[in-house]
């Protein structure tokens, strides 16, 4: 009886907590379907009286947010796939290949982890300006193509990969790229999933760097375009909510899709230390 009471208490606390954290998101969803002005009416409405898609329509037609959505997709997908490739190759090399200066080079990289992103923004901007990449997709994509954090994460995970497997593959006649591609990648899939969620999230949500590099509205990514919206339509809560839904949705989908591996990856990393 006591035990049962305890579990009832525990679960109700958890359910209340979950509802509390879900509430803003649910309200955002609900408000995005409300008519203009309804969200700020008193007493507040929980559900829209007359659900409408008017704001979504406005976003895609009048405000041209479809373009920003496409920009975000182009930038995020490119950065996620290419950086996954680059980081995993580098991480594998640092973990398993023997070459001169490997550990020194890795320590140097790891030291770079402590430098805040903001510090490097100005020099990076000047560099890209010289290369003529300001106000292009490349300006947003290139700095994200490799990340020290990603290399670090993959290296740590790959360290546990048994050397004998590599030896066996070499005896079997596999070349170095074949070993990486058909052997290492499938085995380190959990950490790749973790890293891809992380990269996707941070690139999709990145606001600062695209804001700095992109000056032309046609190149804006969603967060930048949305921020512009706030300036122009500060009163239009429902329109803002629709824009937010549009921004959050893809991330949510990706996360739900990969979360199984994500948890696996995080656990594996924590156990090995």
């Amino acid at each position: 009886m006591n035990r049962r009471l305890a579990s009832v208490l525990l679960y109700s606390t958890l359910v209340i907590g979950a509802l509390l954290s879900l509430l803003p998101i649910l309200w955002m969803l609900s408000a995005s379907f409300m008519a203009t002005g309804e969200a700020s009416s008193y007493p507040p409405h929980v559900l829209p009286d007359h659900p409408t898609l008017e704001h979504y329509r406005a976003l895609f037609t009048r405000l041209n947010l479809g373009r920003s959505l496409l920009n975000s997709v182009i930038v995020t997908v490119t950065v996620t796939t290419v950086s996954l490739f680059v980081n995993s190759m580098a991480g594998y090399a640092f973990a398993k290949l023997r070459f001169r200066g490997r550990d020194r080079l890795f320590r140097l990289l790891a030291a770079g982890l402590v430098i805040p992103v903001q510090v490097s923004m100005l020099p990076l901007f000047l560099l890209l300006k010289q290369m003529g990449l300001i106000n292009t997709y490349w300006g947003v994509i290139i700095p994200g193509l490799a990340s020290i954090f990603g290399i670090f994460l993959i290296r740590q995970y790959t360290l546990a990969f048994p050397d004998e497997l590599l030896d066996a593959a070499r005896m079997d006649g596999a070349g170095e790229f074949r070993i990486y591609w058909s052997l290492v990648l499938p085995v380190i899939a959990p950490v790749l999933a973790t890293l891809s969620i992380w990269t996707f999230l941070s690139t999709w949500n990145d606001f600062m760097w695209p804001l700095i590099v992109l000056s032309d509205q046609d190149h804006y990514t969603l967060p930048v375009a949305l921020a512009n919206l706030v300036g122009e339509h500060v009163q239009d809560t429902e329109l803002m909510m629709a824009g937010s839904v549009l921004t959050v949705l893809p991330v949510l989908v990706v996360f739900l899709f990969l979360q199984r591996y994500y948890v696996q990856g995080v656990m594996a990393g924590s156990v090995k230390g």
Binding site: D167, A168, A169, R170, M171, D172, G173, L183, P186, V187
Partner: protein
């Protein structure tokens, strides 16, 4: 199939550590050669150099007719079986075995045929679609062997393939590998730290220690003619007993071994190396089976056992005149007649009392002599204070001390074995003893003897 030749193969790591000091070895086509030694002796490094997984610092490696020092592993026509199986975890058994063939771009039908053939030989047919983690340890090791077989290599390399298996499976797999070797008629280089594996599997054995080859010989050759103390103690289980001392010549012109630490003497009789060993510090090596139980010493005051001994029963009694360490009275001639009340006195103790007329084959010639002539005594007597008794069913191991000297004897089973704490009398077949030079550790070889 091919011959493998190692000429002065050395491995020096970048930090200056010398792992292998120059190995010379000629493995004949179809031969099964085992590299054995304690961990860190360089056996695995040597194998990995043959495999091409470690670079060769100096020397020449030939497989077939080709010098392959700088040939990558995949082009050396070799296959290797690893200690931890090293199966690709995300591939099925079939894919694991087919991987190398796919990389060689063999036609699918040929791959299929070879994999199924190997699976049949190894009894893996029903497991082909399963993943390694769904298999038992023994099955995994068979997949690893199968992966080597399908390649049809000239040389098979095994790196301690049995050490992760439990004892029963190890014996079974050991026999399986031996059978495969016979069926495939393949050249095999096999690394192990287990001397039993080495003795049972190898046509020839290479004993390594500290990066140097100590001896290359057949299993029985190593056992009977160990070239130095290291080989002598490494091969054979339990280990050979070692007693430091020197060889002197007795009054009757007979050679006697005198232990350094204890007041202990053993007649050497017609030991072939006795003459060579006289006058220098030596180590006497006695295999546990060269010590046999001659009787218990539980109640030395009862003099009846001696009295009952019929004349001429066997060689266990030292001839009069031989100096023989037998501290307790009555122990020097401890062989009682069958039928006396001494329970520990067995019919099957190899030691000493064969019925008159039987030839004891376990002994070198000379010991069967029913009445040894002075100067030819082979058998000394040692009193052993028992520390531990290990009955193994088919034999009993007696561990104990003679003064400060630890000794182990291997005796035949008996209904009532002696107990720890008791004192027993051991008969020593010192003609079969090995004599080593105490300074160099090398075996003292008598004139006319095979080295």
């Amino acid at each position: 199939m091919a011959r493998v030749t190692l000429e002065g193969i050395r491995k020096i790591y970048e930090n200056g550590h010398v792992a292998v000091h120059g190995v010379d070895l000629d493995v004949a086509d179809g031969e099964f050669v085992v590299l054995v030694g304690p961990s860190g002796c360089g056996k695995s490094t040597t194998l990995r150099m043959v495999a091409g997984l470690e670079s060769i610092t100096a020397g020449r490696l030939t497989i077939g007719e080709r010098v392959v020092n700088d040939v990558p592993p995949k082009d050396r026509d070799i296959a290797m079986v690893f200690q931890n199986y090293a199966l690709y975890p995300h591939m099925s058994v079939f894919q694991n075995m087919a991987f190398a063939l796919k990389l060689r771009k063999l036609p699918a039908a040929e791959i299929d045929r070879r994999v199924r053939e190997a699976a049949d030989i190894l009894g893996l047919g029903p497991e082909l679609e399963r993943l390694p983690r769904q298999l038992s340890g023994g099955q995994r090791q068979r997949v690893a062997i199968g992966r080597a077989i399908v390649r049809q290599p000239a040389v098979f390399l095994f790196d301690e393939p049995l050490s992760n298996l439990d004892a029963k499976l190890r014996v079974q797999t050991r026999r399986e590998i031996t059978r495969l070797h016979r069926e495939l008629n393949a050249t095999v280089l096999y690394v192990t730290h287990d001397q039993v594996e080495a003795m049972t599997m190898g046509d020839r054995i290479v004993v390594l220690d500290a990066g140097r080859v100590q001896q290359v010989d057949t299993p029985m050759g190593l056992y009977e003619r160990p070239r130095n103390l290291f080989v002598a103690t490494f091969i054979g289980s339990p280990s050979m007993n070692l007693i430091h001392g020197e060889v002197t010549v007795g009054s009757a012109g007979n050679a006697i071994f005198r232990a350094a630490a204890d007041d202990l003497e053993l007649p050497l009789g017609r030991h072939p190396a006795a003459a060579e060993a006289v006058g220098r510090p030596v180590v006497l090596g006695l295999r546990p089976e060269q010590l046999s139980l001659a009787g218990t010493d539980a109640a030395p005051s009862q003099g009846t056992r001696d009295a009952a001994r019929p004349p001429g029963t066997g060689s266990s009694a030292p001839p009069s005149g031989t100096t023989n360490l037998a501290p307790a009275p009555g122990t020097g001639s401890s062989a009682p007649a069958p039928g006396t009340a001494n329970l520990a006195w067995p019919a099957g103790t190899r030691s000493s009392t064969p019925p008159p007329g039987t030839t004891n084959l376990a002994r070198p010639a000379g010991t069967t002599n029913p009445a040894p002539l002075p100067g030819q005594a082979q058998v000394g007597m040692l009193p052993l204070q028992l520390d531990a008794v290990e009955p193994l069913g088919n034999e009993i191991l007696l561990h104990g001390r003679i003064a400060t000297q630890d000794l182990t004897a291997r005796v035949a089973p008996m209904p009532v074995p002696p107990k720890p704490g008791e004192r027993v009398i051991l008969a020593v077949d010192s003609a079969g003893a090995h004599i080593f030079d105490a300074t160099s550790g090398a075996r003292v070889v008598g004139a006319g003897e095979i080295a």
